[in-house]
Symmetry: C2
Subunit: 255 residues, 2 copies
């Protein structure tokens, strides 16, 4: 590989993930099937959906009793009040809503539609099950990374990614929910630019750029390719979890 080059390799052949599945074992098998021997500096990007599935983050909407608030909000946003109840139970507050759209601040701080709760693609027999985000995406990334570091005795990093919509721009893009073994956010403050002046761009969303890049080969909204190996990245900044990417509400002008 020429220096500076970065390669994104989708890991083919991963079967549908079920609750209780061991994602570390699945990753190790998938790397072998795809003839990839992890190297220090590799980043494994894993789709949030299979992390949630392995962690059994299902809720059966049929068992949910909607609160009065969920009933009222459900009528306003034109969504099933039981689904709205699940969204609210995962959220700190509603940021914006209108018919068809419910944007909340997730309990982990993500500002996103429906608290990131997926109700597509769960299983043909899934009935009314919906799938929450992982309980602790940075923790899930750390655990998976430890398993991989132990198996391969090399410093591989892990990102758990999702697709987010965003204000001002159309189309979803990949975003990092969890990260371990790399700087999710890189602080460039104090570094000189080409001419020795201080940089104006002070922080870069490294893990988000990696998640967006992986999104290019994951395909959309299915489990076709839920793991991508990213090889060739370089960094010198210290490890920072993906939680650092979340701007505190008090510093945010848009909620």
């Amino acid at each position: 590989m020429p220096p500076g080059e970065v390669v994104l390799t989708p890991l083919a052949g991963i079967k549908l993930v079920e609750p209780g599945d061991d994602l570390g074992e699945i990753a190790i098998a998938a790397l072998a099937v795809n003839h990839l021997m992890p190297q220090t500096g590799d980043v494994l990007v894993v789709a949030q959906k299979i992390v949630s599935k392995a962690e059994g983050r299902y809720v059966d909407v049929a068992t949910v009793e909607p609160s009065e608030r969920a009933v009222a909000l459900g009528a306003e946003v034109d969504k099933d009040p039981r689904f709205v109840e699940v969204v609210l139970s995962e959220s700190r507050r509603v940021v914006r809503h209108r018919p068809g759209l419910l944007i909340v601040e997730h309990r982990l701080g993500f500002v996103m539609a429906n608290a990131g709760i997926d109700h597509s693609n769960l299983s043909a027999q899934g009935g009314e099950r919906v799938l929450l985000l992982p309980e602790d995406p940075d923790g899930s990334a750390r655990a998976l990374r430890e398993q991989l570091v132990h198996a391969f005795r090399t410093e591989i990093a892990v990102i758990i990614s999702d697709s987010f919509g965003r204000p001002w721009r159309k189309g979803t893009i990949g975003v990092a929910l969890g990260a371990a073994g790399l700087p999710a956010l890189i602080d460039l403050r104090g570094q000189p630019d080409l001419f020795g002046r201080e940089l104006l761009v002070t922080e870069t969303g490294f893990a988000d750029e990696i998640a967006a890049a992986a999104g290019l080969v994951m395909g959309q909204a299915d489990e076709g390719v839920p793991m991508v190996l990213v090889r060739g990245l370089r960094w010198s900044a210290p490890e920072v979890a993906a939680a650092a990417l979340i701007r505190p509400a008090e510093h945010d002008l848009f909620r």
Copy 2:
């Protein structure tokens, strides 16, 4: 290259760009120096900064007479009123401001800090020159693409990228300002998911994901690597310019 793999190659050896430089010739030379023969499906990502430089989009702040509005706003945001005047002249309206921060809706629709006007890294002798965005980034991408298609007789696509901050999340990421030869936005509506149900994710910001990926190898805020070749992407959606990525203000809940 295995199927599905995507490779990001930074084009080394590009010199500092000056007004009037021919970016097509620079790209053709850089591809040759890096031993890359363009193939159909390749995407050349070009940093906005060198497009603006080649197009001579400089303004000498010393020649600017600030309006009363710029003086007042400059005091509020703690920025040079002449710089604020230039920002306002490139903008439709101010979206948010506070000391140190001025977020506007650029005349092209981008919601961004300082109308995307760069005042770092211009040149050691640049004095008070600032650099505006390209006049028409989609048009610049189209012109560059035509030049490359003609030179190589192959269907290469072009993206002009910038780094944007965003609400809710810290760190800048790569974003597509202009695009030609690919679908900047891919509409997935009506496509079935794995189980034959209609997808809930309806649009994907394809060009933005490519720009973010390229950001990983461009480095930050300098001209070190202002061009990146992306190889291995597949798409079947029709060509759409990057302007399609901008959500119309009347559909946006956050400005």
